[in-house]
């Protein structure tokens, strides 16, 4: 079989190979790899120069605004104390506000137990669930801090994460900063392992690239810092999901830049079953591009809208092209391929798979270049041979979710938002 494949490969001209290898560019992996390559080469060269010249880049924390961390959650009694423990004392004069959004498992009581022994922790409790957006907004009247950091109740922060995440806000043009979300349970099973790899390549390095290009369009709700002034100008969080993407785009629209702090790291638990993962991604994909970039925040790309910026246009273009057009393109390619399989179809598939692996290897090297925990990241990276199959599954999820949202607006039926809010909010 291997001999067949090598004979087949050697019999093809490069133009013939490119005729079917172009389909790879429609997928996420190779596209990211090709985009990251120049950035990595540049940074690698610069690091080498620094090493040769004995120069050390100063990463001192020079900006120290007042910070308020808001932890909004529903039924997170088991995890909220660990989250509070990871935050408390990690930043000077830190305010922490826990909003219990109608929990029935004693989340407020668990947080109060911690607050009794630790100063600066405020617990707000709402008897009825009102949704994450309003829970976050509910905390705003209680603080006058310059920077508001939203943190998920089931995550914990890495070393100096708060210091890292506020540094880009020293630039007054920056309205929000995205932190890095990393898997807390990467080696539980294959599902979490693959997700951990994906988080490293798409969040840790992928957002670094987007931020360098000035087109970062998402600040994770799990760990993101927002300038208070920017939040007030946008009126706070809007009804989600995803409330984090929505606010990020609103902040961009208000004229601010979005920055990324790769070493502001937050560890979170990932779904441990395939079905849990699929449900999570269906929710993300439904409420992502179609709802926000194509409908609600379409004016980001309007040349005639007030405050138009080219970077905002590219944010939309990036999402329209890669998340919708490329996704449709790859499915058309797959259908055509299955409808009329070309001669040597399995050789083509093997070639595509191996090429994909080469691009994944590039991505892995890029991750390791920026990694601050080489051992862990290298171990996570060993799963890269299965990533093409994993990406193919996510592509199917994206197709289903996008179709549902395009035609049925399924994101507005998501029980992530309580029924009373779903009934009252606008269906964009």
């Amino acid at each position: 079989m291997l001999t067949d494949w090598t004979h087949w490969l050697s019999s093809k001209h490069p133009e013939q190979l490119l005729a079917f290898l172009w389909a790879l560019l429609l997928t996420d992996g190779p596209r990211y790899a090709l985009a990251k390559l120049p950035m990595c080469l540049w940074d690698f060269g610069r690091n080498c120069c620094d090493w040769v010249c004995g120069r050390e880049r100063d990463r001192a924390f020079t900006y120290c605004p007042s910070v308020c961390v808001i932890i909004a959650g529903h039924n997170e009694a088991e995890t909220v104390e660990a989250t509070l423990r990871s935050l408390w004392g990690s930043y000077p004069r830190l305010e922490i506000i826990v909003v219990d959004d109608g929990s029935t498992d004693g989340m407020a009581a668990a947080a109060r137990r911690f607050a009794r022994q630790h100063a600066g922790v405020l617990i707000l409790s709402r008897p009825d669930r009102g949704g994450k957006s309003s829970a976050l907004n509910f905390a705003l009247p209680y603080t006058r801090a310059e920077v508001v950091v939203s943190v998920d109740a089931d995550s914990h922060q890495g070393t100096a994460a708060l210091w890292e995440i506020v540094q880009p806000l020293g630039n007054p043009r920056v309205g929000a900063v995205s932190g890095t979300v990393i898997a807390r349970n990467p080696f539980t099973n294959l599902v979490t392992w693959l997700q951990a790899y994906e988080y490293l390549s798409s969040i840790f390095v992928g957002r670094l690239l987007a931020a360098r290009l000035g087109i970062l369009g998402i600040v994770s709700g799990a760990f993101g810092a927002f300038r208070r002034e920017a939040i007030d100008r946008c009126g706070g969080w809007d009804v989600g999901p995803p409330e984090d993407l929505d606010l990020t785009l609103a902040i961009r629209k208000a004229g601010y830049d979005i920055a990324f702090a790769p070493y502001a790291q937050c560890y979170t638990d990932l779904p441990e079953s395939w079905w849990g993962l699929i449900r999570q991604r269906l929710r993300w994909e439904r409420s992502g591009v179609v709802r926000n970039h194509c409908r609600k925040h379409l004016d980001l790309a309007s040349f005639w809208s007030a405050g138009f910026r080219l970077s905002n246009f590219f944010v939309c273009l990036d999402n329209w092209f890669f998340n919708i057009l490329c996704m449709i393109g790859i499915w058309v390619w797959i259908i055509c391929f299955c409808w009329a399989p070309p001669a040597g179809w399995w050789q083509i598939l093997v070639t595509l798979y191996l090429c994909y692996l080469v691009f994944e290897l590039i991505q892995l090297l890029a991750t390791l270049l920026y990694s601050n925990d080489l051992g862990r990241d290298l171990l996570i990276g060993t799963v890269f041979t299965l990533v093409p199959l994993y990406q193919f599954m996510l592509l199917a999820v994206r197709l289903v979710a996008t179709t549902e949202e395009l035609f049925f607006r399924k994101s507005f039926d998501d029980n992530f938002v309580p029924a009373k809010v779903r009934a009252a909010t606008w269906r964009w």
């Binding site: 617990i123 309003s134 509910f138 009252a424």
Partner: protein
Amino acid sequence: MKPLTESSELIAELFAIDGTEARYGQTLHGREGETLSDRRGGARAIAGRPWTVIPMLADGRPDSAHRSAGHSLVLNAQGIGLECDVLEWRWPAAFAIGVQNGHGVMEYAGVDVCHTTNLAAGRVRIGGKFAGRAHDLIQPQVLTPTYHPETMTFRLPFADELYQAWQEAGVLQAVWLDRVQLCPRCQGLPTFRPGCRCCGSARVRNDRLIHHFACAHVGLVADFETPDGLACPKCRTDCLVIGSDYEYHAGPHHCLDCHWTESELEQVGQCVRCGLRFPGHQAHVLELTGYHVDRLDPLAFLQAP
């Protein structure tokens, strides 16, 4: 010991029945003008139960060393006649007696000695009334600490040592009654009220918030108020209807003195003696302990007429 059938003679002996009025000197606590027939007019029981007798010393403490056992000869609502072992010792003016009830619990009564008769072989017959110092010691009002406004303290009427001695004798049982919060500085009695967590001031303003469902905006009620009704300041939706469009939330408390903002007020104490203002959780907590005794009810031994 004589059989109980002879008890009528014993009664006459114990209470010196001679068909006439008793002389005052024969009874320690008989009232002036009270006749024996008055005192003995009620129902009476002849009960041969075993009793524990604990003499009371002149200073009020129990004399556990001379604790003895006895048998009741006669009992009514006012007094008891019993015969007990006594070693060569002078019988006191008061004692406590205890008897086990049907549930195995010892019940006690205080008795003032009216009459004693020494018998042969170190035994003595005693007639006594449920009155006097020992009786007073087991009354509920002297077993519970009360507040004394002049000293601003909680106290028992007698010295603590006295209660402890009777507790060691098994008559009294210490019981936890209450928990009282006192001034952490002078142990005086404070007043409590909600106030600012930061400065303790009662001058606090509480804002109400509105949560507008459609845009998730949460803001002060005043921000929503317009001449035409409620309108969301974020999304400009007007004519909001409570329940379907918005809901109220209790908002932050703002201290008008120190401008502190808090979600819940703190209980702030202020001592009425020294004037110290302190957070409620810093109050000195006094565990109020009283005493309990299972008191003997003589009527329980008497048959209904």
